[in-house]
């Protein structure tokens, strides 16, 4: 029996405090390298960005004139920026659910115990080894209306030329398709890892119980995979908000700003037009937008996650 010690409460508090101090210190020690690096290379620049967002800057990016929230006010009224917001949201909606779903299907297939499955696993994860730059160059070729392979194949079916990257109505979808392809490898690999971590004896019992594949998927596989799924969705979401490389190579934000997602617009403003103030304001808005989405994702998404 554990009896509380009412006799000398101050001493116990002291010990406990000492212990918490020690665990806190230890925890900090483990975190120290991360914290130092984060502060130097992420928090400091972000704070600087916030600072610049309320200034007009010169070409070197030095603040010259305090303008308060003018940068933000202008952005919120600017049709171009609103178009960027729309493009970004659409892009996220196109890519995240599709790539997670596709990768999940692939992972489920690749998780079957078949001969030569390792080869298929390598195939499916291969896009992870491709750089965005290299993949985009290849896709640009495939999308090319005059010499690209996609239109060549379509013309076999009598479908006339599609201007994949030049039609404002299709361009974003085309970029999304190539992005999904690029992301699948990585998402697949993580999900496969998650699937393989599931205790096989659980499947065994499901098999003995004679439940259908779909039932097993719903009741055993998916719940156990949920931490991994949660992770993959969150990361895809964040990455998707920050897509840059493929847009730079495939469309440069065009046609008619149809693919001018916020990150690209920031890049253009900061590195081509040298409007660091406006670029910083956009970066701040983007940061908070992702923050809200991620927060919601953690708040509502992680509830459904089943940790062992």
């Amino acid at each position: 029996m554990n009896t509380p010690l009412p006799v000398q409460p101050p001493a116990s508090v002291q010990i406990r405090r000492k212990r918490t101090m020690r665990t806190t210190l230890e925890g900090i020690t483990y975190l120290l390298p991360s914290l130092i690096l984060f502060s130097i290379f992420l928090f400091y620049p972000m704070l600087r960005t916030m600072y610049l967002s309320v200034y007009l800057t010169d070409y070197q990016g030095n603040p010259v004139q305090f303008v308060g929230i003018e940068n933000f006010v202008y952005l919120l009224k600017d049709v171009n920026f609103l178009q960027s917001v729309k493009a970004t949201l659409l892009f996220v909606c196109y890519t995240v659910p599709t790539s997670v779903f596709l990768a999940l299907c692939l992972a489920l297939m690749a998780n079957e115990k078949l001969k030569g499955i390792g080869l298929f696993r390598t195939c499916f994860s291969s896009t992870m080894g491709m750089s965005v730059a290299a993949s985009s160059v290849i896709w640009m070729f495939m999308y090319n209306p005059s010499i690209g392979v996609i239109n060549k194949v379509l013309s076999l079916f009598g479908i006339s030329d599609v201007q994949w990257l030049l039609d404002p109505k299709i361009a974003l979808v085309s970029v999304a398709i190539s992005t999904i392809w690029m992301n699948t490898g990585f998402t697949f690999l993580i999900l496969l890892g998650g699937l393989q971590n599931i205790d096989p004896s659980l499947y065994e019992s499901a098999r003995i119980a004679g439940v259908s594949y779909l039932y097993q998927l719903r009741k055993v596989t998916l719940p156990l995979l949920s931490p991994t799924l949660f992770f993959v969705t969150t990361v895809s979401l964040i990455h998707s908000f920050q897509t840059f490389g493929q847009i730079d190579i495939l469309t440069k934000g065009g046609p008619m700003d149809a693919t001018n997602v916020i990150v690209y617009s920031i890049y253009k403003d900061a590195f081509i037009n040298y409007n660091f103030g406006s670029a910083s304001a956009q970066a701040v808005i983007l940061f908070f937008a992702i923050l809200v989405v991620t927060f919601l994702q953690f708040k509502f998404g992680e509830r459904k996650v089943h940790y062992q």
Binding site: Y59, M140, S146, I147, S160, Q163, L165, I272
Partner: protein, 445 residues
């Protein structure tokens, strides 16, 4: 208990230390290297074959100048190089020579980090009359030469001679006016079933071509004589001349004789090579490779002008070399030496022949290698002639604004909106208004 984690930290630091040893060796060297040569760091944006040629030229220079060593360093695209220059300008990591595209001219002057080469021209009485006068015109600002012109190009009309013959057109008589262009394009457009297999004409959605089509009619881009008299405050490209260009695109697109190739240079060339388009506008620097790769005969001609409008000529494109201010006197002298070397007729002849860029020094065209090359590629001469016939007026001098890259983005968007059925005047006005705002902000800085 914490020993383990500290061992780990110690290990990390060891790795870091190992890395830093490496860094000392690789660090940029000061103005003089071990052999006592003056070192000139030269940042450029020349990739692919251009870099190969540039390296050759630099090597020859280094061999013939025992006290100077030029180090060419590729820094990505013009934009990327400029971004980097921007962040290091004024520090020890800045280069001695920096290559910047023509539209960055005003920007470089405003940056205050550069040394106008006029100083050396005056000191040595260097004769700039030997340069191509249009090139001098472009790079003369407030009566001063700020940078040394280097790789220069202009736009030309490129067409498929075989397709001309097939359509019953004279391959030696390319269209010179909008009317002829439309007529030829109509004949060149081929349909098969409901599908167009060959379009007549195309222009890349790129601001440069619009600027040139404007200038060839004598139209200005911004006010105050293209920003050459004083800082420009307003875009004027949405006037009559600009509208003619946009109307042309809109009309031809509607007729189905114009093909939208997007904004990628390689896509446009691929469309031409695969016979998807029969005529298009390209940079004179790209002519040679097009001829080499095309499976048909290629013709080169002048930019077309609207009917009844007198031809004024073209603006020079490309890039120039800038000397930075914060380097030693000795380095500046050495950098100037290198710049002079680059503009000699022999070097320019080699540069012209191997890349297709113009020689800034027309004497180069008298060199044997150029003559031999022109024999082989008579089309190259057309590009030079077009430049020579250009009149010196503010329109062909080119606009001088610091927000050019941004303005170009707006023009591109306006061009793209034409294919969506937006009214040409409306599209132009919008681009002009957005350029105005960019100018206004820039003038506040």
């Amino acid at each position: 208990m914490k020993k383990g984690i500290f061992t780990l930290f110690a290990f990390i630091f060891m790795i870091l230390a190992a890395c830093s040893n490496q860094s000392d060796e690789a660090a940029t060297t000061p103005s003089e290297n071990k052999e006592g040569k003056t070192e000139i760091v030269f940042w450029h944006a020349m990739s692919g074959d251009l870099e190969t040629v540039l390296k050759e030229i630099v090597e020859e220079f280094n061999k013939s100048h025992s006290s100077i060593e030029v180090k060419p360093i590729f820094q990505g695209t013009y934009e990327e190089a400029l971004t980097k220059f921007n962040t290091v300008a004024g520090t020890k990591d800045a280069p001695a020579i920096m290559q910047t595209f023509e539209v960055g001219t005003k920007y470089m002057i405003d940056s205050g980090k550069i040394q106008p080469v006029q100083k050396f021209i005056d000191e040595e009485n260097y004769d700039i009359a030997q340069w191509e006068k249009n090139i001098v015109n472009y790079y003369t600002v407030n009566g001063k030469i700020y940078s040394m012109p280097f790789n220069s190009s202009t736009p030309v009309l490129i067409y498929n001679k075989d397709a001309f013959k097939e359509a019953g057109l004279d391959p030696e008589k390319p269209p010179m006016t909008y009317g002829e262009l439309k007529e030829a394009a109509k004949k060149l457009t081929k349909k098969q079933g409901g599908q167009t297999t060959q379009y007549g004409f195309s222009i890349l959605n790129y601001g440069w071509f619009f600027e040139e089509m404007l200038a060839v009619q004598g139209g200005l881009y911004v006010n105050h004589e293209n920003g050459r008299k004083e800082n420009a405050t307003k875009a004027v490209f949405n006037g009559e001349e600009g509208l003619r260009v946009f109307d042309l695109i809109r009309d031809m697109y509607k007729e189905g004789t114009f093909y939208n190739v997007g904004q990628n240079w390689d896509d446009m060339r691929a469309a031409f090579q695969s016979k998807k388009i029969a005529m298009y506008l390209d940079s004179s620097a790209g002519v040679k490779t097009i001829i080499d790769n095309a499976p048909f005969e290629v013709g080169v001609s002048y930019l077309p002008v609207p009917d009844g409008v007198e031809r004024q000529g073209v603006i020079i494109g490309g890039a120039s070399l800038w000397m930075t201010k914060d380097i030693s006197e000795k380095q500046q002298k050495a950098a100037w030496e290198f710049m002079k070397y680059l503009s000699t007729s022999e070097v320019q002849a080699k540069w012209h022949v191997k890349t297709g860029y113009f020689a800034i020094n027309p004497a180069a065209y008298e060199e044997e290698i150029v003559k031999a090359e022109w024999e082989k590629y008579p089309q190259l001469k057309v590009t030079v002639d077009q430049l020579k016939q250009t009149k010196s007026i503010p329109a062909t001098q080119g606009a001088l604004i610091s927000v050019f890259p941004e303005s170009r983005q707006k023009v591109v968007k306006a061009m793209e909106s034409l294919y969506q059925g937006v009214d040409p005047q409306e599209a132009l006005n919008r681009a002009a208004a957005e350029t105005d705002r960019a100018l206004e902000i820039a003038n506040k800085k």
